[in-house]
Symmetry: C2
Subunit: 205 residues, 2 copies
């Protein structure tokens, strides 16, 4: 794996679809897959660790990084800034690791605009009703915040056709299996397997 540049996966899903849990479990299941840790201007929440959950930076520092073009993509999400470092991501891929970016539809567009080769996966809730129930179930948010998340979700869901794959997040286990399958299949593509296959073919000569 060492000579081979890693694959870049983009996972988008409306807030409340459970993408963080999903991607964390996914990375736990598959060796050679990692998350490119985001930078954020928001304060760490209870239990969040700097350098693990996010790279927490001041808003001033974040804005300076954005101005210097250091982000592959960045977004203002409900008033907080989140971004993916181009350099961090490149280092992961160069080391041969496959990387996942958990970013929104706008972020996915920004990454595509930079001409990066990605495999983009859209995780959809089974319906708006189910998403709304999940958002209320988390019960962390005010009614206004839930309404706002649903409004954004409506816009995001309409963009599913910009992605290479669509996975419906009905039950956790099959959804995780679907994501895992996409990663494994991308690793088995001819373009990725050429080196290994050629080495095997040479034993036949």
């Amino acid at each position: 794996m060492s000579n081979r540049r890693g694959l870049l996966f983009v996972v988008s899903a409306p807030s409340g679809a459970g993408k963080t849990t999903l991607v964390e479990r996914l990375v736990g299941q598959l060796t050679g897959l990692t998350i490119s840790r985001s930078y954020t201007s928001r304060a760490a929440r209870e239990g969040e660790i700097d350098g693990v959950d996010y790279n927490f930076v001041t808003r001033e520092r974040f804005e300076a990084m954005a101005a210097d073009g250091e982000f592959l993509e960045w977004a203002d999400v409900f008033g907080n800034l989140y971004g993916t470092s181009a350099l961090d991501t490149d280092r992961l891929l160069e080391s041969g690791l496959d990387a996942v970016l958990v970013i929104d539809v706008q972020g996915a567009r920004a990454v595509r605009r930079r001409g990066m080769e990605t495999t983009a996966i859209f995780v959809m809730p089974p319906s708006m009703e189910v998403l709304e129930r999940r958002l209320r179930g988390r019960s962390k948010d005010s009614e206004a915040a839930i309404k706002e998340r649903l409004r954004v979700a409506r816009q995001e869901v309409a963009s599913y056709a910009e992605y290479d794959f669509v996975v419906v997040n009905d039950e956790l286990t099959p959804t995780l299996d679907g994501l895992r399958s996409i990663i494994l299949a991308e690793r088995a593509r001819l373009v990725r397997m050429r080196g290994e296959a050629e080495k095997i073919a040479r034993t036949f000569v």
Copy 2:
């Protein structure tokens, strides 16, 4: 699934790579996936059942079918004729099932020449040494037959680059997992998920 035409998978592997066991287990693991049963002119072996393992036909009948263009592909394998019925395969796909054809490199080419959309997977042994050991381990074949199989394997392995995916058949479980992932990933492609995704998106409006 009913309105949707099934996906057609092609699996090729040198003889002795274990493709029959692999594909049978694969079909056992995944609902909605079936093998398009081949026709053959050879006599049924001990334990083989007509209409289950193969459709056994006389050489005359087989040749008449071939002359009428009824085969998607057919081949002479070590003196016996094997073929895939175009009509049988089309019926499977029309019913919404995904179908796997277990065919050789020549057969895969013939299917492609007919302009059929396929996902083609090449299963490779980890090396010629391993393949040779496996062939000898089965110990059904004479030395001359083993040599002939290795000669054919050499030609087939050289054609891996005509396939979309390459899976190295080292251990059974990860190989099976690799094949299964490719099937599940193809099912999650945008083109296949568009109907379902559109239905979900409509619940958000």
